[in-house]
Symmetry: C2
Subunit: 292 residues, 2 copies
């Protein structure tokens, strides 16, 4: 289904478009925003996808993440998807901040009652690219503005997990990856245990296909250059509580002989958008190295 | 009363401190935030005061304005005051978005029942400087980090009115002024008419002392260099509705032979923080010219 443009906002020399569409993946209306840099008015520009964290909508990062400032200069578009279906009508979907609404975890659920709607993996990897890069939405004409062959991915917290896992599961689909405070080993933390149990079931073998720490050790990545930048704040309470576990990911990287992974521990920074906005330029610059 | 530190947040290499104190001007607790750039850990830094618009708290601009990105590089602190007393207990104070709570208009009210609490002019020009630059709050020790002799002022909408009028009423107190979409001639617009009627009474002569378009024509400013930068978005609905009236201010500037006033009309930009954040660097750079 084509996009409906809900708002067009001038910002950083370009435009932020707030879009809505009926999703075939989630069987719900979905909100998604895109920042088009000034360069998009004269040429096809590369794309950086930002996957948000628990509870967030496309608005949080587009208002508080500050990625557009650097993307404007580089001539990179940013796509801000939502974090789950909303209003699917499943009993209990709104009961917790870390499961159901706002907490899709970028997987395709296999368990009832979630499997009909909670298909954020397919939504991000197939449906959205077809809508933005294909001819599905001729009125908005994004395919003429965006270069489907140059896409990178980043994200925050649950969205950092999303960025890393989508990147690792789809070699070649994205030019680079980065993450802010990612849930790096969801099979081994409370957030991931709850989400994967609910969406994927009790068999933990099925979880490994959505766990960056397991995926990076797979044959396809052994000895390869990951082109990854990860920032984690040492003042982040979720890091301290063992929800993020970036050290597990680092160990798996080392064990697999994977190169090109920079993990930075930023002193005193927390889990908020104050942390994201501070390092937003570094992450856009990182993507620009591989997109431009 | 000394500040209570409610939160310390690492951002853009420095710290955002969320503070609270009992105000003698408003006779209520007041929230105020300050961004300390990295340079403040080794030297006294100059200060830029950002006055926010209708409904805003110190959080809106500190989360979405991105002034800290440029202030970090220049080594400038930013003070984000609140826009009114909150919880003064006056009947009707919460009934409208444009009068009472969140709408102090940076005047000292002379009319009952507002005069006891709605004294934002004194709060910004006297009480806050004493707290930040004096020895009133030794525990937080701001006076050792901030240079009281180098202060500039800026603001948005109602806060743009505040920045311009506080600057014009206090020659020499601030090194420069700037404003995003300021209410430039409040005596002649619906917002100002409502606020000044309520706070200052029916006598419109009393309003002139709080109207930038009148103040800039006073003898003290005739022929002087104003060191002012003003941005207005042409897509701003409040501009289109005649709430801002920057052209009236421009005419008064011209009539008074005042120099050093740059007013820029930014095509398609609206009244939001997407507009502020886009031009935040320009406004911090403008202040830096006179502060550094």
């Amino acid at each position: 289904m084509a996009f409906e443009v809900k708002a067009t906002i001038a910002t950083f020399g370009g435009q932020l478009l707030k879009l809505s569409h009926e999703s075939t993946s989630t069987k719900t209306p979905m909100a998604v925003s895109i920042y088009l840099p000034p360069a998009a008015s004269t040429q096809k520009v590369p794309v950086l996808i930002f996957l948000s964290g628990l509870t967030c909508t496309p608005d949080n990062c587009s208002e508080k993440g500050f990625l557009a400032a650097a993307a404007s200069k580089h001539g990179i578009a940013i796509i801000y998807p939502d974090t789950s279906p909303r209003g699917a009508g499943i009993a209990g979907e709104d009961e917790a901040y870390d499961f159901g609404t706002g907490a899709g975890f970028y997987v395709d659920a296999t368990q009832a009652p979630w499997a009909d709607n909670y298909n954020m993996y397919s939504y991000i990897t197939s449906e959205l690219p077809a809508l933005f890069f294909g001819d599905a939405a001729p009125a908005t004409n994004f395919s003429a503005k965006l270069d489907a062959s140059r896409v990178s991915i980043t994200g925050h917290s649950m969205g950092g997990h999303g960025a890393l896992t989508l990147y690792l599961r789809n070699p070649g689909a994205y030019k680079s990856v980065s993450a802010f405070a990612p849930i790096s080993n969801p099979s081994a933390c409370p957030w991931g245990d709850k989400a994967f149990s609910g969406y994927l079931g009790a068999d933990k073998e099925a979880w490994k296909a959505h766990d960056a720490t397991h995926l990076v050790g797979s044959d396809v990545w052994k000895g390869k250059d990951l082109k990854a930048l990860i920032d984690v704040g040492t003042g982040d309470n979720f890091y301290k509580q063992g929800q993020l576990l970036p050290e597990n990911f680092e160990k798996a990287v080392k064990d697999a002989g994977v190169t090109g992974v920079t993990v930075r521990y930023q002193e005193n920074y927390d889990h908020s958008y104050f942390f994201i906005s501070t390092f937003a330029q570094d992450h856009v610059d990182h993507a620009a190295k591989y997109l431009l």
